[in-house]
């Protein structure tokens, strides 16, 4: 029996989909059988980020409505054989599925896979309730902004209400230079407010934008710093104790060194 993990945030645009894609790909890279589930019905993105959009025939709604079996809706990743995607429907709305149906689906997927990663839509309405249903663990993604942290705090409360305790935290788009100048919330500031376990810190990285647009998760790029951060997160999820990336690494000298592949 596998483990289901929901990636959520409350606020939109903090990097839920990118995080789900990278963690999923990272887990598959070390040999786990992984299924990514896009729960953002009506605004699906995970298929685009994974570069699998053109393979979609059936989707999550077709499965819960019984038009097809789960197997026929799953799309195999083009790079990794043990990574699958269950896409969301684009022409439907969030209320086309309910939490009970999601629970049944999650149970079915957990039998087949080591990890089932659910990409949650922004907001706290029906879409959130669907995504959270049937999840064993929650990962909350936030950015070092007051509004994102406020929403993350709200999510922690809502997760507790649906009996999902001890969520993990990923802080995305950290900019060490701004933190040093005192212009950005530090990881300690954020953990101080949220008081949940830190799973990883992902630096703000241009290569993420490039990889997202290309449909190639950054975790596959050995040179990418954010890819390294996601690889560390994957190892922590697997139970390893990995130190957090040193934030000074983006100093000018180190950056130039990294350009020449001498990190």
């Amino acid at each position: 029996m596998g483990k289901s993990i929901v990636v959520t945030s409350g606020k939109g645009g903090v990097g839920k989909t990118t995080t789900a894609a990278n963690i999923g790909t990272g887990l598959a890279q070390i040999g786990r059988r992984v299924c990514l589930v896009d729960a953002d019905i009506g605004l699906r993105n995970l298929d685009v980020v994974m570069g699998l959009e053109n393979r979609i025939v059936y989707d999550l709604i077709d499965v819960v409505e019984g038009h097809c079996r789960v197997r026929s809706a799953l799309i195999k990743d083009k790079r990794l054989d043990n990574l699958f995607l269950l896409p969301a429907a684009q022409t439907r709305e969030k209320d086309a599925v309910n939490p009970e149906q999601m629970k049944v689906l999650m149970e079915e997927l957990k039998k087949e896979f080591d990890y089932v990663l659910v990409d949650c839509p922004a907001g706290i309405e029906q879409g959130f309730k669907n995504a959270v249903a049937g999840a064993d663990v929650a990962i909350i993604v936030t950015t070092p902004e007051v509004s994102a942290v406020r929403d993350a705090d709200r999510i922690v409360g809502l997760l507790e209400a649906s009996e999902l305790y001890e969520p993990h935290l990923i802080i995305n788009r950290i900019r060490p230079d701004m933190i040093r100048k005192g212009d950005m919330m530090t990881t300690d500031d954020i953990i101080d407010i949220l008081a949940i376990k830190l799973l990883g810190i992902v630096p703000d990285d241009e290569s993420i934008i490039i990889s997202t647009n290309r449909g190639e998760p950054a975790v596959l790029d050995k040179k990418s710093l954010s890819g390294q951060a996601f690889r560390n997160i994957v190892r922590r999820l697997e139970g390893a104790s990995v130190p957090f990336l040193p934030l000074e690494e983006t100093s000018m000298v180190k950056r130039i060194l990294r350009l020449f592949g001498r990190s």
Partner: protein, 212 residues
């Protein structure tokens, strides 16, 4: 409804009532009354044509029907209309004449999440963006850029085709055939192209006006 029911349809000449087989005349009359009574306002004043699937109405039955219909403020038409509903029912089995298929004209861009379904041909005066879906039983013509999903001949018509000024679809489906865009970037098409089934695969070729 255990048995077939009377079918009431609007035609351009008025209302037509189709009496199915397997019903006794009194059942027909009762059904008709119930239907008409449920929407009295709506039916009142209409001209009615009655047709049957397999039996002749006796003069007595005809008179009773006439009475019923008149009770609800409607008039029985003089003779059978040119296109009785019986013909509509039969037409399903015959191969459809493609030239006479209906065509839907859409004068806007179809965006992500929007889906057009039509029993006939579809013409889009605009683009079809990624995440949008056009599904129809006939041909699809996009007078713009087709970047979404197009499914022509969805009832199994292998002669259906998909035409676009710029054919760059996420996925193309014709009848039960599916093809997807290649993963690697290809040079963009320069002119109008048409996709149709050749040798059991979907093939795309540059559009030439004398072709079809």
């Amino acid at each position: 409804m255990s048995k077939e029911a009377c079918i009431i349809k609007g035609t351009k000449h008025g209302l037509s009532i189709l009496i199915p087989s397997g019903l006794t005349f009194s059942e027909v009359l009762a059904q008709l009354r119930a239907r008409l009574a449920s929407a009295q306002e709506f039916f009142s004043g209409a001209t009615v044509y009655v047709s049957t699937t397999d039996r002749e109405l006796k003069p007595e039955e005809k008179r009773q029907l006439e009475q019923t219909v008149e009770e609800f403020g409607m008039v029985i038409g003089e003779k059978e209309v040119a296109e009785p509903p019986v013909a509509v029912a039969e037409r399903k089995d015959e191969p459809r004449d493609e030239a006479s298929e209906d065509t839907l004209l859409v004068r806007r861009t179809i965006r992500s999440g929007q889906r057009i379904w039509y029993d006939g041909n579809v013409v889009i005066l605009g683009d079809v963006n990624p995440g949008a879906e056009i599904v129809c039983t006939g041909d699809i013509l996009v007078l713009g850029c087709l970047r979404g999903v197009a499914h022509a001949g969805c009832n199994g018509n292998v002669n259906a085709s998909v035409f676009a000024f710029r054919l760059e679809p996420t996925q193309l489906r014709i009848a039960s055939y599916i093809s997807r865009s290649p993963d690697e970037k290809l040079p963009k098409p320069l002119g109008p192209e048409v996709a149709r089934i050749c040798d059991n695969v979907i093939q795309i070729s540059a559009y030439q006006s004398n072709q079809s």
